[in-house]
């Protein structure tokens, strides 16, 4: 499949995530949308990695080109996990105080 398809799919997924972040009011769903954005880029990274590998394969059968893209994905996933744990902790903390995860409650700082 041409790389354009992957780019299009990843950008569409990313945009769904962005729209979700901007329009939804539930903190958990916003959070899920951010995860969707991160995973869209993961998909893109893997696709590009394969593309570069395929291009280098013609010249050298034992090429390692492209492996760093997939390693990047590992790091993104791990960092996302760290963010999830911190983010969930923050949401739980907020839930204990206001008994809601609706971000419309977040207006105390607007004066």
């Amino acid at each position: 499949m041409p790389i354009q398809y992957y780019i299009a799919l990843a950008v569409i997924l990313f945009s769904i995530g962005v729209v979700g972040v901007l329009t939804r009011r539930n903190a958990i769903i916003i959070f899920m949308c951010i995860e969707l954005m991160l995973n869209a880029t993961n998909l893109l990274l893997v696709a590009f990695s394969k593309m570069h590998h395929g291009a280098a394969l013609a010249a050298d059968a034992a090429t390692k080109v492209g492996v760093e893209g997939q390693l990047f994905v590992f790091f993104v996933m791990v960092v996302a996990a760290a963010e999830v744990s911190v983010g969930l902790a923050i949401i739980v903390m907020m839930y204990r105080n206001v008994h809601s995860v609706d971000i419309n409650f977040l207006n105390r700082l607007k004066n």
Partner: protein, 132 residues
């Protein structure tokens, strides 16, 4: 095993190669649909109030599931997410285990060491104490 083994998937992108998958999908969908229709048509129908109740592994129902949960469940869940995902780094190491040799082993041991430190901290802080 060489380091690029992450990339060693054979290139399959012609429409022909997807044919068996398509057939399987059709079969799966057809099977499910047939079974559902057959059992709805042929099965006996008895309506009792017990059937509408929640099934909780055969024991007595203890109440609504949508109650506030104790905070320790969240804590364990959060810790699980952290420790679970870090396993991801073992996959590339496992694939290149021989090639990386002792240096790689040292790096992974250090990685695990950091984890044990974190785990000690969790235990020491009492985050995993289940009974109050």
């Amino acid at each position: 095993m060489p380091i690029h083994s992450l990339l060693d998937a054979t290139v399959v992108n012609t429409a022909n190669n997807y044919f068996p998958i398509g057939v399987q999908l059709l079969f799966a969908a057809g099977f499910v649909a047939t079974m559902l229709i057959m059992s709805a048509l042929l099965g006996p129908k008895r309506k009792t109030s017990d059937k509408l109740a929640n099934f909780e592994s055969g024991i007595e129902i203890t109440g609504n599931a949508r109650q506030p949960m104790a905070i320790k469940y969240f804590l364990v869940a959060i810790l699980f997410v952290l420790f679970d995902v870090e396993v991801i780094f073992f996959y590339p190491y496992a694939v290149n285990f021989r090639e990386l040799g002792w240096a790689g082993f040292g790096a992974v041991a250090m990685f695990v060491g950091f984890f044990i430190v974190g785990f000690t901290y969790i235990i020491k802080k009492g985050a995993l104490i289940w009974e109050d």
